[in-house]
Amino acid sequence: MKLFKLRGGVHPESRKELAADRAIRVLPMPEYLYVPLLQHVGAPAQPIVNVGDKVLKGQLIGASQGVISAPVHAPTSGIIAAIGEYPAAHPSGLTAPTITIKADGEDRWLETAEVENPFSLTADEISTRVAAAGIVGLGGATFPSAVKLNLSRKNNVRTLIINGGECEPYITCDDRLMRERAAEIIEGVRLIRYAVGAEDVMVGIEENKPAALAAMSAAAKNTEVKVIAVPAMYPMGWDKQMIKALTGLEVPADGRTADIGVLVHNVATAYAVRDAVRFGRPLVSRLVTVSGGSIAEPGNLEVPIGTLVETLFDFCGGFRDKPARMVLGGPMMGIQLATAAVPIVKGSSGVLALTAGEIGKVDPSPCIRCSSCVRACPVGLLPLDMAAHIRAGDSAAAVALGLKDCIACGCCSFVCPSHIPLVHYFNFAKGELMEQERVKLKQESTKKLAEARSERIARIERERAEAAARRKAAREAKERAAKEAAAKAATETA
């Protein structure tokens, strides 16, 4: 098939060989699981259990709130040990509302509603099951999948693209999933296609995963699913990049993929959809790659949501030597972990313990305007100019150059010979803009409140004056009437 040309991109050393050939292993159930209530884009789930409650595996413990939200479920059977703040995966070690479960060791599933033939369900039923299972985009975006399904049905999506572009270095969990559970993924893909009524289904897999390509092609044989090899480059897994490569279409900057008739889901999401629709099983575990130069035995683990990162490190033999940096996610977009005592969430594809050599940190030097960043940017931005403006305190100028279109993929920082932390500048400016918008909103609402108040005071005074005038008029009328009556009486008596 003809592929379409892509802009920019980089070819970081893949380092996937560390874990790519390690088969999936199931992590033994840890004693405690820490399940955050916000593991997705949107509103956090609302806890519906109390401390001390007994829960079964797969039982709903946090209910979805609002239009864009997702529920969370108990990843094992046990007792609710705590509901409250717990350190989250955040560079500064911030906490987040979390439900702590003490496992009872039985790992007993809730009674679930299995379906003999999932294709006998209606599209609505499939989407309801996906929503109830708490499935979110497992490629890292963590957007609630059911919301995407419904949106796609409304927009009459024609093309379904399944993203097998695992472009982050080190990370191999999708690769392993495709190699080992291709048939299940394909069933999930076909269910999604059925639910949204798409005509074309394409699975894009990078050509540096020949085993995954072979397994998926075999599983897709005699189905409507086409498995297509795409170039191995970063960020091939960016959904808009995958769409462009496979269809030549570009998603409008102000729009969504549904606007051009395309729906994109990750392979792991398709796998989770199959579990949810066929077995009624919610998303309570995921595959996580544990890798990096400091890890004794890198590997791919099936991990219950809420497991602490340090448990994964320990299971993989601990550290060969003290890591220079721990990262949640891939090295290109992942976040630094201040501590390994934070839980794995639905969007965690990998945990890395990197050596100083792997990070390649060098102190920044001045920009020489080499425009390596301009050539590397997959979006078509001018990172060097944007950073210069932000450095000078002029975020507005950076916005004019397209700051809001930046996807923070890190290509620019990666290639910069001066080692300038470009993405850091951009995220700083984006944060500043959000803060400005917030302040503006606040000012506007304050102004509105103040206006309402002065209006109210004016109205009360007006009403008071009117009331006084009315009373006066009434009194006068009364007096007049009394006078008239007196005069009348006087005339009558006279």
Partner: protein
């Protein structure tokens, strides 16, 4: 725990000093060939130029209260003076090299704010300054006398040439471009002025009077191709510059071959190859985008050809580069990449439109 680090947590194995080092490596063959061709005076001049740049930059940075080591070790000052030395007459006195180097790294670079801040290519600005201020020393070309040959000056003699401005009898010569220009002013056309004076092959391998680096077109070309292969530079600006010279040269040569020299003559003489691959690819003073670099390169070539053909100076590369350096911010303002999901004006694409 150390400071919070932002993604990405990996980096391409590249740094400023590696970039500069690779460019120096690409310059080395042509430079060594120049050393062989012009002997010890050329080596002296090259050496004093580099030393002047290092010492001058170190002092200025020290006076600014900045750390000296990182500035010196990025290698940019050394590269600047190296490029300048390659553009000087090989037998020029020491103070030409020293003055030029100091002007380049101190006035043209550090005064503007240091690495990455200069508007004009420092080597070319220094060369233009020297050419205007010291026309005699800057046009005193020498017939090549390779090391070991009969006419080659010895080590002691070379020190006298470089440091005491001693002149060698019988070795003075005009560069090809200078010769042709002079002949033109005497009303002598190309058919006569080039006869016996010009053979393309000689230009190619450097067997004629010229500056250190300008003479070895083949080695410079190879160095440039090496830089493209190593992805230090891209082909856009160099190819555009060569076309910017070759296209008008070809057209006018076809119209009047006695008055206008052909493309081969233009491409292989003067500083064109050095300029195309090593000067206009200076990232600091050239545009950011591929399209911008094509415009920039072509304009550099065209201006070079115009200055050579109708200007007062026989060679125009340095002037052309400086003019286009000044135009770079304007090119960058108007030529920007298209953003994904938007048209060239920055407006969001409408649904379903193929790009």
């Amino acid at each position: 725990m150390n400071k919070i680090a932002h993604s990405p947590h990996a980096h391409a194995p590249i740094s400023i000093s590696k970039v500069m080092g690779t460019v120096m490596l690409a310059l080395a063959p042509a430079t060594l060939f120049g050393f062989w061709l012009y002997g010890w005076p050329a080596i002296n001049l090259w050496a004093v130029s580099l030393v002047a740049a290092i010492v001058g930059e170190a002092l200025v940075v020290y006076w600014q209260g900045r750390a000296v080591r990182p500035v010196l070790f990025d290698g940019s000052g050394i590269l600047t003076s190296w490029l300048l030395a390659l553009s000087l007459p090989p037998f020029a006195p020491w103070w030409i090299g020293v003055l030029g180097s100091l002007f380049a790294v101190v006035i043209c670079k550090q005064v503007f704010g240091g690495l990455g801040q200069n508007v004009f290519n420092p080597a070319m600005a220094a060369r233009v300054m020297l050419l205007i201020s010291f026309p005699l020393e800057m046009t005193n070309w020498i017939v090549p006398a390779p090391l070991g040959s009969a006419h080659a000056p010895g080590l002691l003699e070379s020190l006298r040439i470089t440091f005491l401005s001693q002149h060698l009898d019988g070795m003075a010569s005009a560069s090809l471009l200078g010769h042709v220009k002079t002949e033109f002013t005497r009303g002598i056309g190309l058919d006569q002025s080039l006869a016996g004076y010009y053979a393309p092959l000689h230009s190619l391998v450097g067997e004629r009077a010229g500056s250190l680096g300008e003479t070895a077109a083949v080695l410079l070309l190879l160095g440039g191709l090496y830089l493209i292969a190593r992805r230090i530079i891209t082909w856009h600006a160099p190819v555009a510059m060569l076309l910017g010279i070759a296209i008008p040269a070809l057209i006018f040569n076809l119209i009047d071959s006695n008055h206008y020299a052909g493309p081969i003559y233009h491409l292989l003489s003067g500083g064109v190859i050095l300029g195309a691959f090593f000067i206009i690819t200076d990232p600091v003073t050239s545009p950011n985008t591929t399209a911008g670099q094509l415009i920039f390169g072509f304009s550099c070539g065209l201006l070079t050809w115009i200055i050579r053909t109708w200007g007062g100076y026989p060679e125009g590369v340095a002037f052309a580069v400086m003019l286009m350096n000044a135009a770079t911010p304007i090119i960058d303002y108007y030529v920007k990449p298209r953003i994904y999901g938007r048209d060239r004006k920055g407006v969001s694409l409408s649904a379903g439109k193929e790009s």
